[in-house]
């Protein structure tokens, strides 16, 4: 069977076109996050951003990876400055300096993603499920707080898959900052710890 140039070109064009439908996306989240506007409480805190968190790459689907380690570290670093007057960012718990009252270790439990082809909605969505281990300087666990965050694109019109996932992830990370500022001191165990801390010590 012999093919002419036209047929070969058409077949090649069709192959390229169809390969463009493959849904592989490697996204490196790049965004500048603003500082938070809040009055911090006078507490010295250590924020443990370990290597796993700083270099975290989510794989919500087999063909999608999202590098969000740097972006989430940046946002959380800024968000905690709105909660505590002194925040020391360290790489491991061994580096906690004396005088620190709280040690907070964030981690990512799971990242989920939904695309227009999954949900039949005209948006890309990203869910990031964080966990915050909140401990005292002595290592007593105050709480292991589950903190979900959600982000979506306004629509998917004219957006490439990578750009849309990046946009939804940035919104989700910003949402994590909002959730943290809004709810951190409402966590019953943290609220209890804070009230106990404010009470003057009674000496016999």
């Amino acid at each position: 069977m012999r093919f002419g140039i036209t047929q070969t070109s058409s077949a090649l064009a069709l192959t390229i076109f169809l390969s463009g439908c493959g849904s592989t996306a490697q996204v490196k989240v790049a965004a500048q996050f603003p500082s938070v506007l809040a009055e911090p409480r006078d507490i010295k805190t250590a924020l443990v951003i370990n290597d796993e968190f700083r270099t975290y790459v989510a794989k919500p689907t087999a063909k999608t990876s999202i590098e969000l380690g740097n972006a989430q570290s940046d946002l959380l670093g800024k968000a905690f400055l709105g909660l505590f007057s002194q925040v020391e960012t360290i790489a491991s718990k061994d580096q906690v300096s004396p005088g620190t009252e709280l040690v907070i270790t964030p981690s990512v439990r799971e990242v989920q993603m939904s695309t227009p082809s999954d949900s039949y909605l005209n948006v890309y969505e990203v869910w990031i499920k964080y966990n915050l281990d909140i401990e005292t300087f002595d290592g007593d666990m105050i709480d292991s707080w589950f903190m979900p965050a959600y982000g979506k694109t306004p629509d998917s019109f004219m957006l490439s898959r990578s750009k849309a996932i990046n946009e939804a992830t940035v919104v989700a990370i910003r949402d994590a900052g909002a959730k943290l500022l809004l709810d951190f001191y409402r966590i019953p165990s943290v609220n209890g710890w804070f009230k106990q801390r404010q009470q003057p010590e009674v000496t016999p």
């Binding site: 506007l37 809040a38 968000a79």
Partner: protein, 220 residues
């Protein structure tokens, strides 16, 4: 009558069919004119807290552009949201004046709003949707060439509401609702010819014009 006259009439009739119908409703609680001092600014924000839609930034920018030339400063939406982060994120943005009042009781937030010289905040809420569609079009491509044949039409509806909040006395100064609808066509005669109804653009123009009348000073 020559054939080109008929063609001209047919084209005109077809293009007229692509126009949008726009209705504007306005509600002002008082007849007090909207006051804005030199140097004061307004910010226009899109509502993004609904689960299934959000007011798109293009529309917010479009309405902002319609207010240019009034001598009023307009603070860009993202600049305001970043400056006051995280209190105007979809999760935290105040949905009522009561919530805004409580938010502005925070001295940090109040100071930031004051430094931005903001007098009014305009919320935009709404979306543009495709409601009904009909017709069919088929396109084919082959080594010898290709083309589209057929006819398709769809209806678009834009519904937007603007709510004006005064940040100095924390009152609502007015609401403007705009409804715009129109039908777009796609005619396939070898090449597809789109005849689009500018529904969203008309909604933006209508809302922008009405907001201009809100903020226009006597000099304008």
């Amino acid at each position: 009558m020559n054939w080109y006259r008929w063609a001209g009439i047919a084209t005109t009739a077809l293009l007229c069919g692509c126009s949008a119908t726009t209705t504007i409703d306005e509600l002002r609680p008082t007849l007090t004119p909207t006051e804005i001092a030199p140097g004061e600014r307004i910010v226009i924000l899109g509502r993004r807290d609904a689960g299934h839609y959000e007011t798109d930034r293009d529309f917010v920018d479009c309405v902002g552009n319609k207010l240019k030339g009034l001598g009023i400063g307009i603070l860009p939406e993202q600049e305001f949201i970043d400056a006051i982060y995280p209190w105007f994120e979809p999760r935290t943005a105040p949905k009522s004046l009561g919530r805004l009042t409580r938010l502005l009781e925070d001295p940090f937030v109040k100071e930031k709003v004051d430094t931005k010289d903001l007098h009014y905040l305009v919320w935009l809420d709404g979306r543009t949707e495709t409601e009904g569609s009909g017709g069919s079009m088929s396109c084919a491509i082959s080594p010898a060439g290709g083309g589209c044949f057929g006819f398709a039409q769809w209806d678009k509806v834009s519904v937007y509401e603007a709510i004006v909040w005064d940040l100095t006395d924390l009152t609502e100064k007015g609401r403007i609702r705009v409804d715009s609808s129109g039908t777009s066509y796609l005619i396939g005669v070898v090449a597809p010819i789109p005849l689009l109804s500018p529904v969203k653009n008309d909604a933006c123009k209508g809302l922008g014009k009405q907001l201009r009348s809100y903020f226009a000073t006597e000099d304008d």
